[in-house]
Amino acid sequence: MATYTLTINGEKKTLNAEPDTALLWVLREHLGLTGTKYSCGKSYCGACTVHLDGQPIRACVMPISAVEKRSITTIEGLSANADHPLQKAWLEEQVAQCGYCQSGQIMQAAALLNEKKKPSREEIISHMNGVLCRCGTYMRILKAIELAAKEI
């Protein structure tokens, strides 16, 4: 057991955990930030996507010992009032069904729009391809990202 101080959504958090504990369990079970989801545990599905220093990563395979002193953003910290252009576009397009993968989808998409204001459809697909949705909301995710890109 070791003590770690993390910066999550701009706030410093201190906690005790084994060094190999996945960031995902730290966020969800130690800190109660449950918007980030567990689904595959092996980085195959993207449901646990968060930003580490602005880059999208899979929290399920990221040990806490590797993220200390780095800045982590989760869905809860993406925007002040759930008003990120993507979140607004998600509402506009009524994207979610079961909703379970959507935090990961939005975080993955947000990283894209940070890098590239006007991605092409091909760039969106290539960037989003690793985040799985079982309900089949992909058509709407695509539309919502294109819509948000127009707003930015």
Binding site: T34, K37, C45, R134, C135, G136, T137, R140
Partner: protein, 729 residues
């Protein structure tokens, strides 16, 4: 959703009202109707006994005008948490902006629709269709009570009153009063009157039903991360459970290193279950790590241990070809043998479907807390059958059901898997052993390998055609495991086939099988529709016109086929290397037809779907945008299943474990366009959660046949299978 102001008294009787603090709560009742077109052998089939008791729907109107409507159905992405309250609010004439929605308590006697035996099950696309009439009636009754109270208060005839959203109006005296104000003085009649159907709203005056602007109530929480799934629940004193389950169904565990495991710091207990060993630990990461360290010896000799899925097809083939074998008849009409003898040509083919896994994104989980004295318990879970889950937990804990409170949560996907209660029973067993609240998590590997699969099956089809080349005789034998699960969708009520026999010859491999979105309709409609195209192809007939002839006596079904043909421009010249396939299927009472346009990379065997068109008749469409989303979703989940998904079993063990070897559809596979149209209808709603799924498989197979002249007869259509097919002479 806060559960704090959800009524939870089990003592409430129907046809009675509660005067709740600061407002009025109605319990109003009516019978749910039967889905009219149910032809399913399993979940949608309703017997006359199922009509049974009436249902109650609840609303709480507060003096400040807020209206809480209680939703009795699971919300697993299908949107009925919005659709059901909208139906009620329509007849209540509520101001939708003042409506809040909460889960109803899990009290099936009060909230279970009569249409399926008073069970609170959200299955078979039945939530909207099953509750539609009863919620309209209940909403109209609540509106009547408000108006009746105003009539008495103002001493005016009831007939002179009308309503506008959340307002009772008396035009003669130019007075109006809000529902909130009425709620502050309203009393209930002794007996709730039945509102005649003629006095329900004329559908042309609907403001909420059919309104494309009604948004899903769960959407904001699902885009800001605050939506609560059972997996997200944390309560004080909670510990974590993980279970190592039998790799072969039916084998029993013996733990070989218990003493060593118990020494690990953080391990609270080890629990031996019939099908596995549970670890309870102080953190989730500890529970998972320790689970991986368990050394378990599994008993041998389980029935499933001799099952190999690749070889099972040979067994099914022998079974369907055995003329002395008699299975269970699902339907017979006319004189099949003579009709086959008289046929000018007889065709036959077999189609295969591998096991499929639900792959809902939220792995199974549940949290169970037993009270310190052991006399009551609480359960947090996402369930399609919360009443069964509650009963199952009570049984495991040795408690009366009335001592168990279940808090429903959003389901991170259900697709049929979450109408089982195995995961809740397990959490209850762990909680009972350690007397602490236990959150049980299934890993993805657990969820896949201890899955309950859509059954493997084989369909044998034989058909005779008449002089004109039209199908006159139809013989259909289904074999596979999973018994009744194989039967749904085998019948073809919209095709005119006077001489026919449909038979089921099931085998039990000792495997766990389950309803999977659209159940048997996926495999059966694939076989039926692909076979029809193969015959049409050989007869050099246009598959659209060929079906039109088969459907000539069923105008409602014909309408969806003609609509989709028009949408896609069936028959138009396509670019080189492209072809279209057309199909028809009904599921949950909703006839639907689909067309897809594909191309094929002949070097890799990869099929690309460029466009999908779907026309569905779902009766009155309660939430048009969500209905469209459901159809898009069922088509894409269907696409996933027909291109990628397969569970193979060797000596009883699933050979896949996670998304790397059980891939599902990704964004790169979506079509360029996907167009959905619903038929304008005044009929009561039918199910839309699954309607698209059954017809996408054959639509692709039929397009492939049109493109290559070759028939794909084994789902999924992987590149390997496609290449093998292309190389066939």
């Amino acid at each position: 959703m806060s559960k704090s102001n959800t009524p939870s008294s089990p003592a409430l009787s129907r046809r009675k009202f509660l005067r709740a603090a600061g407002g009025i709560t109605f319990a109003v009742t009516a019978s749910a109707i039967l889905p009219k077109w149910a032809t399913d052998g399993s979940e949608t089939a309703l017997t006359s006994e199922d009509k049974g008791p009436a249902i109650s729907a609840w609303v709480h109107i507060r003096p400040d005008g807020r209206i809480t409507i209680y939703n009795p159905a699971a919300e697993m992405g299908q949107g009925s948490m919005t659709a059901l309250p909208a139906i009620f609010a329509e007849e209540l004439d509520a101001d939708w902006s003042k409506v809040q929605i909460e889960y109803s308590p899990i009290e099936p006697k009060v909230y279970g629709p009569g249409a399926w035996g008073g069970r609170m099950m959200t299955v078979g696309s039945r939530a909207v269709s099953g509750y539609y009439e009863s919620l309209r009636q209940a909403g109209a009754q609540a509106r009547f009570v408000l108006m009746d109270n105003v009539a008495k208060k103002w001493n005016v005839p009831l007939a002179e009153l009308s309503t506008e959203p959340s307002m009772v109006i008396h035009r003669a005296s130019n007075r109006k009063i809000s529902y909130g104000e009425v709620a502050s003085f309203a009393t209930m009649p002794e007996k709730m009157p039945q509102i005649p159907a003629a006095q329900l709203k004329d559908p042309k005056n609907f403001r909420l039903i059919g309104n494309p602007d009604i948004e899903r109530c769960d959407m904001p929480a699902k885009v800001n991360g605050s939506a609560k799934y059972a997996i997200d629940v944390r309560i004080p004193g909670m510990v974590y459970g993980a279970i190592s389950r039998s790799p072969v169904n039916g084998s029993k565990p013996t733990l070989l290193n218990a003493a060593e495991i118990r020494k690990i710091s953080g391990v609270i207990d080890l629990v031996t279950l019939g099908h596995g060993i549970g670890v309870v630990a102080d953190t989730l990461e500890k529970a998972l790590k320790v689970k991986a360290q368990l050394k378990i010896q599994w008993s041998t000799g389980a029935k499933a241990a001799s099952h190999n899925s690749e070889q099972a097809y040979a067994e099914y083939t022998a079974l369907v070809m055995d003329e002395n074998r008699k299975g269970r008849s699902l339907e017979t009409k006319g004189d099949l043998n003579n009709a086959l003898k008289d046929a000018s040509k007889v065709y036959s083919a077999t189609y295969k479907n591998d096991y499929l896994y639900h792959a809902q994104m939220e792995p199974l989980n549940a949290l169970v807390a037993l009270s310190p004295d052991g006399s009551s318990a609480e359960v947090w879970c996402g369930s399609q059958a919360p009443d069964s889950a509650k009963a199952a937990a009570a049984r495991v804990l040795g408690l009366d059901e009335s001592k168990v409170t279940l808090y429903p949560h959003y389901l991170g996907g259900g697709f049929g898997r979450r109408s089982s209660t195995d995961y809740v029973e397990e959490a209850a067993a762990l909680a009972k052993a350690v007397r602490k609240p236990v959150k049980l998590l299934w890993t993805r590997e657990d969820d896949l390998q201890y899955g309950q699969y859509r059954p493997i099956c084989l369909q044998y089809l034989e058909a005779g055609v008449d002089q004109a080349g039209n199908i006159s005789a139809w013989k259909y034998i289904i074999s596979g495991t999973g018994d009744n699960l194989l039967a749904s969708g085998a019948e073809m009520p919209f095709y005119t086939l006077p001489d026919l026999s449909i038979e089921l010859r099931a085998v039990d491999h000792g495997m766990r099988t389950k309803h999977w979105r659209a159940v048997g309709h996926g495999p059966n409609k694939y076989a039926i529709e692909a076979f029809i195209d193969e015959i049409a192809h050989d007869q050099k007939k246009d598959p659209y016109q060929y079906r039109r002839h088969l459907m000539r006596n069923h105008p409602r079904a014909l309408k969806v086929l003609e609509t989709v043909a028009e949408m896609a421009g069936w028959g138009k010249k396509l670019p080189a290397g492209r072809a279209m396939g057309i199909t028809f299927a009904e599921r949950s009472g909703s006839p639907g037809a689909g067309i897809c346009e594909i191309s094929l990379d002949r070097s890799t065997g990869k099929i690309k779907v460029h466009h999908i068109w779907a026309a569905v008749d779902g009766g009155v469409i309660v939430q048009p945008d969500n209905a469209k989303a459901q159809t898009e979703g069922s088509l894409l989940m269907g696409l996933s299943s027909i291109f990628y998904e397969s569970i193979t079993i060797k000596n009883g063990e699933a050979q896949q474990s996670n998304f790397h070897d059980y891939p599902i559809l990704r964004m790169e596979d979506v079509p360029e366009t996907l167009e959905v149209k619903f038929i304008d209808s005044q009929e009561a709603p039918s199910g839309l959660g699954e309607a698209g799924l059954p017809f996408i498989g054959p639509a692709v197979a039929n397009a492939f046949l049109a493109l290559t002249g070759k028939a794909l007869r084994h789902m999924p259509f992987t590149p390997e299978k496609v290449l093998a097919k292309l190389s066939e002479k």
